[in-house]
């Protein structure tokens, strides 16, 4: 090694190794370290052999190998390991050096760490990296936030290794201050939960409702992937449905139907509730995973609770076309909600988010990458101040064109007894959002009745509060002794 390295990376699990290989593909010199030091040598003598990748056997050595300002990226487990490495690095670094956390850290931790690291005279970046192992190797979506002064120093590396869309734009741009990058990554994962749940609902409707075979469903997803739904998740679903093991059995049918829901999906829901954002579809998706985990209870319940007698006897091909529209319209609702959340978070944390830029970052490389995100990018290009995706002409037209089919699908699922919580919560959101008047006036009356919480009136200026003595006005619910 004649010159110093461009970046150092700590944590050589598969994600870390792949990201390093990706960086060296683009001509960067990378120093690497791992807590279990044997992994460093294995990597250097293995897949990193002959590349611009250099092993360090201690953090001190790693830091000594780096050009200034030093860039040290952590790809270690979220939580305490990140704090531990930060503590180890701080005394070794000089003012202006940059620590980068590329794991799935909670944004609150990243807000805290940015402040802490900056207080030591260093710069900090917390970045989401999405795309799984393959993405890390060939082009992930990268969502960096933290100290703005750090961005120019990592931009050339990150944008080089990131995925690119058709016109060559990288799926990586500056997201915002302190925890913004990890917040956007968290929201990405929440949306991923929603997309996956929608696909599962479509799959179950076709499988249980229409009695379609894996091969038939494979064809449907292949077709959908050529149109508006074209996306990575539809694409891999197409492949999964066709995948057979050595014995010729479909693997998907052998897999236990129980899913975990730890981490980012749950955090997205909790954060949305804090912000007062109706993130209905993603929350339903998280709870759907919770229900899937109750496999023994569900088996017991199936024996005692029967469903409806109805069976599907309509035109299957027509229903599958409806299903496409239902999935598409529901997806629009989910992204609408996700963007409402980002907007609320930006206000809460004083981030200056570039909404179109975020759509572009998600356009390629990450798990939710899709053609659809290009449309979101266009909507924000047209109106950077767009308050809600549903107020954009394109999405309005798309939802309105899909809504008849969407309603038919939900009604049919309800009739057949097939749960479609994400699709129906999406429709309820649409029907609620497009209503100038909702029934919450009754709710306010109830709250004023039992708790004297007061209400506002439709015919008086806002901010003027009224209270009615409801008990005095009619038959009162006033017992203090009740009959069991």
């Amino acid at each position: 090694m004649t010159e110093k390295c461009d970046i150092g990376l700590i944590g050589l699990a598969v994600m870390g190794q792949n990201l390093v290989l990706n960086m060296s593909d683009h001509g960067f010199k990378v120093a690497v370290f791992n807590r279990t030091v044997s992994k460093v040598d294995d990597f250097i003598n293995g897949s990193a052999a002959g590349r611009t990748i250099y092993g360090a056997h201690s953090i001190e050595e790693l830091v000594g190998m780096l050009a200034s300002p030093r860039r040290v990226m952590l790809l270690v487990k979220a939580g305490k390991p990140v704090d531990d490495f930060i503590e180890m690095l701080i005394p070794l670094l000089d003012p202006g050096d940059i620590i980068i956390d590329g794991g799935n850290s909670n944004y609150n931790d990243t807000i805290r760490r940015t402040k802490y690291v900056e207080s030591k005279g260093l710069l900090y970046i917390g970045t989401g990296v999405s795309g799984g192992e393959e993405g890390a190797r060939h082009g992930p979506s990268i969502m960096p936030g933290g100290s703005p002064a750090a961005w120019p120093h990592v931009k050339p590396i990150f944008q080089a290794v990131a995925a690119k869309v058709e016109d060559g734009s990288p799926c990586c741009d500056w997201v915002g201050e302190n925890g913004a990058g990890h917040y956007v990554k968290m929201t990405h994962n929440g949306i991923e939960y929603g997309d996956m749940q929608l696909i599962c609902e479509a799959y179950q409707l076709m499988k249980e409702g229409l009695g379609m075979s894996n091969e038939e469903m494979h064809q449907v997803f292949a077709e959908w992937n050529e149109g508006k739904l074209d996306s990575y998740l539809i694409e891999i679903t197409r492949d999964i449905l066709a995948f057979k093991d050595e014995d010729g059995n479909y693997v998907v049918d052998q897999i236990l139907d129980t899913a975990g829901q730890k981490g980012t999906g749950k955090w997205t829901g909790i954060s949305a509730l804090d912000m007062g954002i109706p993130l209905t579809l993603i929350v339903e998706a998280v709870f759907a995973r919770c229900l899937s985990a109750l496999i023994d209870e569900r088996k017991a319940a199936e024996k005692v609770l029967s469903g409806p007698m109805a069976t599907f006897d309509g035109d299957k091909a027509a229903f599958v076309r409806d299903l496409h529209d239902a999935l598409y319209a529901s997806k629009i609702m989910s992204y609408t909600q996700g963007y409402m959340l980002l907007r609320a978070a930006a206000e809460e944390y004083d981030w200056h988010l570039n909404y179109g830029g975020i759509a572009l970052m998600w356009r390629g490389g990450c798990i939710i990458r899709s053609v659809f995100l290009g449309k979101i990018k266009e909507a924000f290009d047209k109106h950077p101040d767009l308050t809600n995706l549903l107020l954009d002409d394109y999405f309005k037209a798309e939802v309105e064109a899909a809504q008849a089919a969407w309603r038919r699908v939900i009604a049919k699922a309800v009739e057949l007894g097939i749960p479609v919580p994400a699709m129906s919560s999406a429709l309820a959101f649409f029907d609620g959002y497009r209503r100038g008047r909702l029934p919450q006036n009754l709710l306010q009356a109830q709250r004023d009745y039992f708790g004297a919480h007061t209400y506002e009136r439709v015919d008086k200026p806002r901010g003027e509060f009224f209270h009615t003595d409801w008990i005095g006005s009619g038959a009162a619910a006033t017992a203090s002794t009740y009959t069991a």
Partner: protein
């Protein structure tokens, strides 16, 4: 004044009403508040048995030892501020009770700090609104069981009472469990309350906007429903609300009220706890989120002029549909309570609260906002099986939903086709349909996770975890350069 049996800090509406309730039951109460008006208003009604003070020393001087002090102040910082103010004057063995809607985590933190100094602490839910506080609330205390025995006589005296079939009166208060269990249970009570209210609101929307029924017709319908399965305080007050006219316009008052609801605090916390515990509470969350959407009033008004949907219409048999609606609401309500009790169960296991679910249902039968005869069925269900994992597995409650599922499906289909949002009803049905499914589509989800993240999966036919190299087949998604989204 003679020595006081109990002190109350915070003489707002709830604090004052509880003070008067305690005094009426033969105990002497000392109240404390910085606000002179509040002190005066207690003194005016207290008849010398409940006396308010503005000076902390005067208040403290009257308290019988060990001192029992009930704090009735807003949740959050005010509670910490009151504790900090009282702390120097408290002695070992004194009992501090927080009767507000504190977050259970805060209660646990405060209890740990005070108990380390030998001061006893109880966090208790108090439900019933202003009226309940005065004439008999439902009370949900949690914390140190020895502390509970100090306050038990007073709480049992002032709580609502339920007359059992044999004529005995059961107080609507019971020791809930250790640490923050009392506030946790009150929080879930409020989450269930959100759910009940949202189901009523959606029912109102379907019948009013869909079927075109007037407030007066709705009054009659709710009056009738209050005699049947749905009998409950919330149905009862809804009946009254529909009969109340606005003095100014002569219109039904409900029609002139702004459709924008609050959504802070306990409802939101219930959803967050459910997410955190991994306990499915989708309908309660849908109710919380419906309030959040209602808060977007201005944007909704804009959207209503921009986005189109079907105009609700109805050409069926109105009376028959109203009966269907009643059956649907009862079915959805059971699904909601199944979720609420599921959250309690998850918390009891995770936090070792050792909750007694049948007892909880029992003390909710009177005094509180969700009071209803229906809660007897839940008590009975837990009497049949103390370890019942879900209310839907109870023979009565599960079958009640099963028998009404046609009604639930009919209502949701109507609303779906006619563009009336019924998020809570839909969510309740999806929960029922998912819960009774032996096989859910999560196998596909696990395939996807294994595909893109090598997260591995379990199989239906053998133990262990497995991983498949999905991309190895010919048309791998990752290597497919024909894909619209390339991955260079």
């Amino acid at each position: 004044m003679e020595k006081a049996d109990i002190g109350i800090v915070g003489l707002g509406v709830m604090g004052r009403m509880l003070a008067l309730n305690i005094a009426r039951n033969g105990y002497r109460v000392a109240g404390y508040d910085l606000d002179a008006d509040k002190v005066m208003s207690l003194n005016a009604a207290g008849d010398g048995k409940a006396v308010g003070y503005q000076i902390l020393g005067d208040f403290f001087g009257l308290l019988e030892r060990p001192r029992k002090i009930l704090m009735m102040v807003p949740a959050g910082k005010p509670v910490d501020a009151v504790i900090a103010g009282l702390r120097p004057a408290l002695d070992r063995g004194d009992l501090l009770i927080d009767g507000g809607n504190s977050h259970f985590r805060d209660t646990e933190r405060r209890a740990a700090t005070l108990e380390a100094d030998g001061i006893r602490y109880i966090g208790t839910g108090v439900s019933g609104g202003e009226y309940g506080a005065l004439w008999g609330p439902s009370i949900m205390p949690g914390g140190d069981p020895r502390a509970w025995s100090l306050i038990r006589p007073i709480f049992e005296a002032i709580s609502a009472k339920v007359a059992e079939p044999d004529g005995t009166l059961s107080p609507c208060v019971a020791y809930i469990g250790s640490q923050g269990a009392g506030h946790f249970v009150k929080m879930v009570h409020n989450g269930i309350e959100y759910g009940d209210m949202q189901l009523i609101a959606e029912t109102y929307d379907v019948l009013h906007r869909g079927l075109g029924l007037s407030a007066l017709q709705l009054h009659d319908i709710f009056a009738r429903w209050n005699e049947g399965d749905l009998q409950s305080y919330l149905i009862e007050i809804t009946r009254d609300i529909f009969a109340t006219l606005d003095e100014e316009t002569g219109k039904p008052l409900v029609d002139v009220i702004l459709d924008q609801a609050e959504h802070k605090g306990t409802g939101k916390w219930t959803s967050q706890s459910a997410l955190d515990l991994g306990a499915a509470a989708p309908m309660i969350s849908a109710a919380v989120e419906a309030r959040m959407l209602s808060a977007y009033k201005d944007e909704r008004v804009r959207a209503s002029k921009f986005l189109t949907g079907p105009a609700p219409a109805f050409d069926g048999d109105v009376d028959a549909f109203v009966d269907t609606m009643e059956r649907a609401m009862y079915a959805a309500k059971i699904c909601s309570y199944a979720q609420g009790f599921g959250v309690l169960r998850a918390a009891s296991e995770e936090y070792e609260y050792d909750l007694h679910y049948g007892e909880i249902a029992k003390i909710w039968r009177g005094g509180c906002i969700i009071r209803a005869q229906f809660l007897n069925k839940i008590t009975t269900a837990f009497a049949r099986d103390a370890n019942l994992s879900n209310l839907l597995l109870d023979v009565d409650l599960g079958k009640a939903v099963e028998a009404r599922q046609d009604a639930l499906r009919q209502v949701i289909c109507y609303a779906t086709v006619n563009g009336v949002p019924v998020p809570a009803f839909s969510s309740a049905l999806a929960y029922f349909d998912a819960y009774r499914s032996e096989r859910l589509p999560a196998n596909l989800l696990q395939s996807q996770r294994d595909y893109f993240g090598a997260h591995t999966y379990r199989r239906i036919d053998r133990a262990g975890t497995f991983h498949t190299d999905w991309a190895k087949i010919g048309q791998s998604a990752v290597s497919n350069q024909q894909s619209a989204v390339s991955n260079r």
